[in-house]
């Protein structure tokens, strides 16, 4: 069965509102296209009970399965050097038709490098529409279309996911998750994280970003 992967961003240990929205959008697409929704959760070393609690919340948002990777290298904010190899590993294993990132900086950081590595189509700040087929197929089917305004606002980019043999990577525009679309009981599969390069980049420290109040999880 086709798959959709939705990346989950945590802030202060909590699932962000944009991440719940991304999962709910993946659910909506999966229901129309017939696909499995995988949520990808990346955390530092955490007790299993806390992982299960996060997984329960994510599955309630609409995920069928939770892929969780727990490693010291994943403890900080999601950056390409620390999280990119894991994303590529998941994408190359599942070969999803759609890889979604929640609104905010995480899509800017992780989306373009992943799309380039996979040779995938990419849309930033996209919205998703489910449209009926123009012809009358048997059985009835729907098409999944991603749209975004160009930054210059002179036109829109449009990707029909069904037209691509490659995956489509997209970061979503902000939105509000609908009421819970799933049951809080999805299966959690723990996956290993590729070892970081020994002489690669490393975190020196961080402080809260006062300018990002608007992106705090809701």
């Amino acid at each position: 069965m086709a798959s959709i992967v939705s990346y989950i961003e945590l802030r202060e240990g909590k699932v962000t509102g944009p991440s719940r929205f991304a999962v709910s959008e993946a659910r909506r697409v999966a229901d129309a296209a017939g696909a499995t929704v995988y949520a990808l959760l990346t955390v530092g070393p955490l007790p299993q009970a806390e992982i299960d609690q996060l997984a329960s919340e994510i599955s309630a948002a609409g995920a069928d399965r939770i892929l969780c990777s727990s490693a010291e290298s994943l403890a900080g904010p999601a950056l390409h050097f620390s999280h990119g190899p894991l994303l590529a590993q998941v994408a190359e294993h599942l070969r999803p038709l759609l890889l979604l990132f929640p609104a905010g900086g995480v899509g800017t950081e992780l989306g373009p490098p992943l799309a380039v590595r996979l040779g995938a189509a990419y849309l930033a700040n996209a919205s998703i529409e489910i449209v009926a087929e123009e012809r009358v197929p048997e059985p009835a089917s729907q098409r999944v279309v991603l749209l975004r305004w160009r930054a210059a606002r002179d036109g829109r980019r449009r990707i029909d996911v069904g037209d691509f043999e490659r995956p489509v990577v997209a970061s979503l525009a902000d939105g509000q998750a609908a009421a819970p679309l799933g049951e809080p009981s999805a299966e959690v599969e723990m996956i290993s994280c590729p070892e970081p390069r020994p002489a690669g980049p490393r975190w020196l420290g961080s402080d809260p970003d006062p300018s990002e109040v608007a992106e705090v999880p809701s």
Binding site: D154, G200, W203, S206, P208, E212
Partner: protein
């Protein structure tokens, strides 16, 4: 050490102007070079670059006018290699498309780490091999130590550009793709990877 700033052809985006400002403010003793891929000679991008950088390269090849982000990134990465640049700076996205794929393609072709939303950079005391980068990520302002080469992107600034002392414009060097070891005939554009363009009605 060379810091290479990538500017879009024609008119540079607000983000790439911020990248140029960042390079000029934080390069320290490093040389700031600039590259413009495509566009005509005498473009605003080249004028801006030649008034600010100490070395300016114009990638002048008709193939670049139709090149997609992947090929453009390849040409810019090869320029960085050609110049021996350890740090490549670009805007996080253009003002037209706004996707941010070219910097990712540069990093891919250089096999270099990429960091977006960069606020500052500097060299830890006594180090020429590691760069310290200050950036915004995940609701935090963090500091990273990274080996070189590295690709950094800056967000558009909301404030005016920092004042710079005027300089006599430097001469623009023109380079063709073949001088970088690239075969223009093999740069097949794949515009479908950005989606079809639906004009505003």
């Amino acid at each position: 050490m060379i810091v290479l700033v990538c500017l879009e052809p024609l008119t540079p985006s607000r983000a790439s102007r911020a990248a140029l400002d960042l390079a000029l403010a934080r390069a320290g003793s490093a040389q700031v070079a600039a590259v413009v891929a495509g566009g005509p000679a005498g473009s605003p991008a080249l004028e801006l670059a030649s008034a600010a950088a100490t070395r300016v390269v114009h990638l002048d090849d008709p193939a670049l006018d139709k090149a997609d982000f992947f090929a453009t990134g390849m040409a810019l990465a090869e320029t960085a290699r050609h110049l021996g640049a350890g740090i490549v700076l670009a805007g996080v996205h253009s003002d037209e498309e706004g996707q941010g794929l070219v910097p990712a393609a540069i990093a891919h072709h250089l096999s270099a780490p990429i960091f977006s939303r960069v606020l500052a950079m500097g060299w830890p005391a006594g180090s020429q091999d590691l760069l310290e980068v200050t950036l915004r990520a995940g609701g935090r302002v963090g500091r990273i130590a990274t080996p070189l080469p590295v690709v950094l992107t800056a967000e558009p600034r909301t404030s005016a550009s920092s004042a710079r002392p005027p300089q006599t414009p430097v001469t623009v060097e023109s380079l063709g793709l073949s001088q970088l070891g690239l075969d223009p005939s093999r740069l097949v554009p794949r515009p479908d990877l950005l989606g079809a363009l639906v004009a505003k009605s």
